[in-house]
Symmetry: C2
Subunit: 543 residues, 2 copies
Amino acid sequence: MDFKECGYSLANKEQMRKTSALTFQSTEKDAKKDTHFENLMTNLSNAYASDLLPFKDGKDLTECFLLQVVDILLHYIKKSFDVKSKILDFHHPHQLLEGLEGFNLELSDHPESLEQLLVDCTDTLKYGVKTGHPRFLNQLSSGLDVIGLAGEWLTATANTNMFTYEIAPVFTVMETILLKKMYEIIGWGETEGDGIFSPGGSISNLYGILIARYKQYPEIKRKGMTELPCIVLFVSEQGHYSVKKAAAILGIGTDNVIEVKCDERGKMIPAELEKNILQVKRKGQTPFCVTATAGSTVLGAFDPLQDIADICERHGLWMHVDAAWGGGLLLSRNYSHKLSGIERANSVTWNPHKLMGVPLQCSAILIREKGLLEACNQMQARYLFQPDKPYNVDFDTGDKTVQCGRHVDIFKLWLMWKAKGTSGFEAQINRYMELAKYFYKVLKKKDNFKLVFDAEPEFTNVCFWYLPPRLKHIPKGFERDQELQKIAPKIKAQMIEEGTAMISYQPCGDKVNFFRMVFSNPATRQTDVDYLIDEIERLGKDL
Amino acid sequence: MDFKECGYSLANKEQMRKTSALTFQSTEKDAKKDTHFENLMTNLSNAYASDLLPFKDGKDLTECFLLQVVDILLHYIKKSFDVKSKILDFHHPHQLLEGLEGFNLELSDHPESLEQLLVDCTDTLKYGVKTGHPRFLNQLSSGLDVIGLAGEWLTATANTNMFTYEIAPVFTVMETILLKKMYEIIGWGETEGDGIFSPGGSISNLYGILIARYKQYPEIKRKGMTELPCIVLFVSEQGHYSVKKAAAILGIGTDNVIEVKCDERGKMIPAELEKNILQVKRKGQTPFCVTATAGSTVLGAFDPLQDIADICERHGLWMHVDAAWGGGLLLSRNYSHKLSGIERANSVTWNPHKLMGVPLQCSAILIREKGLLEACNQMQARYLFQPDKPYNVDFDTGDKTVQCGRHVDIFKLWLMWKAKGTSGFEAQINRYMELAKYFYKVLKKKDNFKLVFDAEPEFTNVCFWYLPPRLKHIPKGFERDQELQKIAPKIKAQMIEEGTAMISYQPCGDKVNFFRMVFSNPATRQTDVDYLIDEIERLGKDL
């Protein structure tokens, strides 16, 4: 059987029901084949998972079922990229829990037919959010890369685990190659560099701080922290919350994370860092690590890495750079200078699933000193990491991680790199930077929009308020803020209700709710930027 | 365009090259359509990722490319289930690094053609390990579930993030439903239960211990562990190494994990646990948590949960049950009694990606007391978890986790549950238990095989040595052990070399390398069991 036999389009439930009612028009001459195919189609309504492979006669049905799933997915992909389609069809949690037009999420003791499963797949996508839509601008990770998607489909099919070369030979070698590529791009020397892919930037940041602690106090691994002095780390007040989270988990405590003041652009002020370090020392506590941010979440700020590296060197502190968001910029010759000094870091978090557009999840923790990662985490489980294997067991990565089993996050990145080359990533990222500049220029000209920081954007984040006419003439101050605070949530709620666009908002420090525009979606065009501005005005002007 | 236009089979590189050289025989009448299709085919060798969506004319090419990827995957799936195909085509790491017959893993600055990417996909699978093969018995997670696979393909296409209901409305509600189902199965009351899906059992165990610590010392979150007494946890000597790993990460220290002695079956001895607790208290240290194991990794042992629960109650200790491997057995009415007492646990790790056969990764941490998970982990990041959203923000799960972004691991499990019903999982698991009993009975009759523990298996693990004729008559003791230690690795190396089967081995305590057979692969049949025994004899008899 090939695609021809199973080939028809299942755009929606109605169409599917029609199809399974045998309205399919075959162009094949072979009557026998036709009958076989028609039987499979009829069977879907009374065929079950147990009829699929590994059931011995399940080969054709398996192929037929999977091709129909793929047809649903292809239809969804095309719709995702279609600017005229809605981003979402919003429903409240209680509506989904109660069930919607035959979409029942409850689970039963008994199996459902394969036909019902296809309907469920269609409905799952129908009530979800099209994160690949050109006007989905809600997160740092957005867009749908077709090559990355193909990579994920293959990864799911291979269904293996990164812990040993034994069962993931190709993927573990790909990881080695990609990590090396990333060390080189950071600017580390040939003999430096170690790392691993982890389940997201928060875990990568946790790794950085864990290794920093291990480097200074290796005995903690065995003895714990009880007998230690109070150790302290530093991050800017605009740094990601995962740094505090890591401190809580590691037993360091959030009180021992000092938030260093930022300038008005959101960059850590080096003099403030040094002042904080000296204060901590004076209190008899022990500084051990600074987390600098390269591309902050809300404002897109880059901390001054060279200055921070100087301070870390002066005080003997580990320098971790959280470049989860900004790391991708290293691939652009025009903009990589913004991360100048990253080569002096002891560890770096870099999420290819953000700026580089790799499907979720794909995050790397990179450590400059070889051997630390393994020394810190290894437990030498003999049932997995036998020394008497027939290959070079250095490729068994499982003893370097905080996990045991580890999802294969590498193949999609590898395939995308093959597909685009470094130059393809560069072109894509440069385009985001141009879009951000364009957006800034347009906003600047409009007197009902106000920029949170009025200068050409440093990164692809552009933060701004929309001021409805009735607020424009209230002078800046508490009264206006009270009202302005409510504007972004109201516009966003309406956008979601209508499904026209998605953009995030938040308060920050003393600034009330503002929108954060961010470019990392390859489908977004200048026309979508123009649309978004018009849409905000349309939804906000009478608020 | 539908499947017919793009429909042809790409079994291997040669075939693909032929196809792209336009040897495809269309049965379509429409000459225009034919030309369009043929153009796309020709184009693959000089088409690039940048020609795919979101490029404005990329729709047909995108569909064509993805369908060809799917064709490669379908071919692989059918081969995986074919007992006559090799499980792997073994090569050493240096061979993969150097490149194999046109499979070059190095990355370049420039893009490769779509045709080359398809070749790379084929090669990636060719040099990998078929974990769905009926004779892949190497890990606790094995097999390829077709419904789960379809679920993963959809998940990848939806490419979203679990942290907010806002961008994952269907998936977050599905998680709520599945967690509730799991609390019910564990036997917790209606008002109890909280939980989250995490990136694997090690992280789930870390959650259990983290929450246990938080419950007793909530101030650690802020203040860290420095001012605390030395806190101690307990796990059996057969428990998973992730418990020690978690202690190292959390700043508790591996020295403060007491390994409790087991009986000869690998079960924790309750009297030993109590003795250890009293010893620790006498030393002035503070016990806070016991991790019991339900289904140990190597021997498949179940700790006596009721007895352990009694001891935990008596001493006021948190009881965590690591049921990563054994949890699935709760779905079998015949065997769930082996986990009797799990309803008294404070937290449970349960990995549907193991016994239940869900594709990697899918692991849950379940906590009996509501609210603790969020209280322990929340950081209230205002850019993600805005309180002024237009829906019930209880469904934003991101503040419960140790992560920020979180992969969607729920849909494949939800779809499999719909597809099989609870009864389908039960039947599958019962079959594994029967296979284990069968395997045990066959081995028992053979005098060149020796069981590590000679009694009917408790779970699907069956551990055994193969004794080549020359060792059979050496008396038990150091000399025989020295030789026996080398047998399993040699047989395994030969199996890998020939690609006929995969089964793990390890030493354990004072026992030298033995094989661990384990049943969790739905494709494995009794004939594969017979084959494996013959294969071990064939490869081992002259060693």
